[in-house]
């Protein structure tokens, strides 16, 4: 069965690779993403190296439940904590996070350092006041623009019909939940909790990343 109830929400969970080996838990980004971001990309190569790969759809995304409220970073961290308690063999895991998924991974590690053996993130950063400001602007813009037809028409021309359909689904999610308000209002982890982390951290950024200039 690939449905796991964690923190009061039914989560869609998928696994690849051999049981009883080091476990990598993949956390995807918000918006148009789902566990498929990993399933069709890095999950199989990771499983082929002998790792067990656990993927799940974040609340509001993919085939996981979409409650109307409860979309702060802490809600997502509680979901992850609940999942790791429910899924066997997740006492200490490697977290692989894309974008917001990496932000969840950092917050989880700050809260439960003993449960995290290592962190790898793609285009991501820990939550901080500047992060909240940026997220507020990006989410606000996405919600406003996607509610208008022109943006979807532009996405269709630029990226094709299927991407436009994903964007439309994301617009519905933003419209029917408190995510746009909740994410920027999230509590951010204390800096000393993050700097106290002793597990290895790998962060990967593309050349055009807005984070590349910061480093």
């Amino acid at each position: 069965v690939s449905v796991v109830r964690a923190n009061g929400v039914d989560h869609h969970v998928q696994e690849m690779g051999p049981a009883g080996t080091p476990t990598v838990v993949c956390v995807h980004g918000i918006g148009t993403a789902s566990l498929a971001s990993f399933y069709f990309t890095v999950a199989k190569p990771l499983a082929d190296t002998g790792l067990r790969v656990v993927m799940y759809d974040l609340r509001g995304h993919g085939r996981t439940e979409r409650p109307p409220t409860g979309y702060t970073l802490d809600d997502y961290v509680d979901d992850l904590a609940g999942l790791l308690d429910q899924v066997a063999g997740c006492e200490a895991v490697y977290l692989l996070g894309n974008s917001f998924g990496g932000t969840v991974a950092f917050s989880f590690a700050a809260r439960r350092p003993g449960r995290v053996a290592g962190i790898a993130v793609i285009e991501s950063e820990p939550a901080a006041p500047e992060w909240a400001t940026k997220m507020a602007a990006n989410l606000e813009r996405a919600a406003t623009e996607l509610a208008r037809g022109e943006a979807l028409a532009w996405i269709t021309v630029r990226y094709g019909r299927r991407t436009a359909k994903l964007a439309k689904a994301a617009a519905r999610m933003l419209d029917s939940t408190t995510l746009v308000r909740d994410i920027p209002a999230s509590a951010v982890p204390a800096r000393d909790r993050l700097s106290a982390l002793r597990c290895p951290v790998l962060a990967v950024y593309g050349a055009d990343s807005d984070r590349a200039a910061v480093r």
Binding site: H12, M16, A36, F40, A43, K165
Partner: protein
């Protein structure tokens, strides 16, 4: 594995049933039950399936046919264009072949 199951028509019918389950309640304003699924039907273009719907279909395939039918393995052997143009027929062919392997090995 019985001989009848290792048959394209049977597998097509079973996969069609799984597609209805997977897409029920997810397909925008369409009547899933009314869609005719053939060997030529394309997952993306014709059924408008998203990648997460394919993952859900993959789960049902392994529940029904066992570990020999490994959807992730099947997809990993395709390039992006092939995944986008993937037809029901190609998946049926894979399932039939995988079941034959399972039968021979068992």
């Amino acid at each position: 594995v019985n001989e009848a199951a290792v048959n394209e028509e049977t597998v097509l019918a079973e996969i069609t049933g799984m597609l209805r389950e997977v897409l029920d309640g997810y397909l925008d304003g369409s009547d899933v039950a009314g869609i005719e699924v053939t060997m030529e039907t394309r997952f993306h273009e014709d059924l408008e399936m998203e990648s997460i719907d394919l993952v859900a279909l993959g789960s049902r395939l392994s529940e029904r046919y066992g570990e020999w039918v490994n959807f992730a393995e099947f997809i990993a052997g395709l390039d992006l264009d092939e995944i986008i143009d993937l037809t029901v027929g190609r998946l049926v062919g894979y399932v039939v072949a995988a079941q034959r392997t399972a039968t021979v090995t068992a």
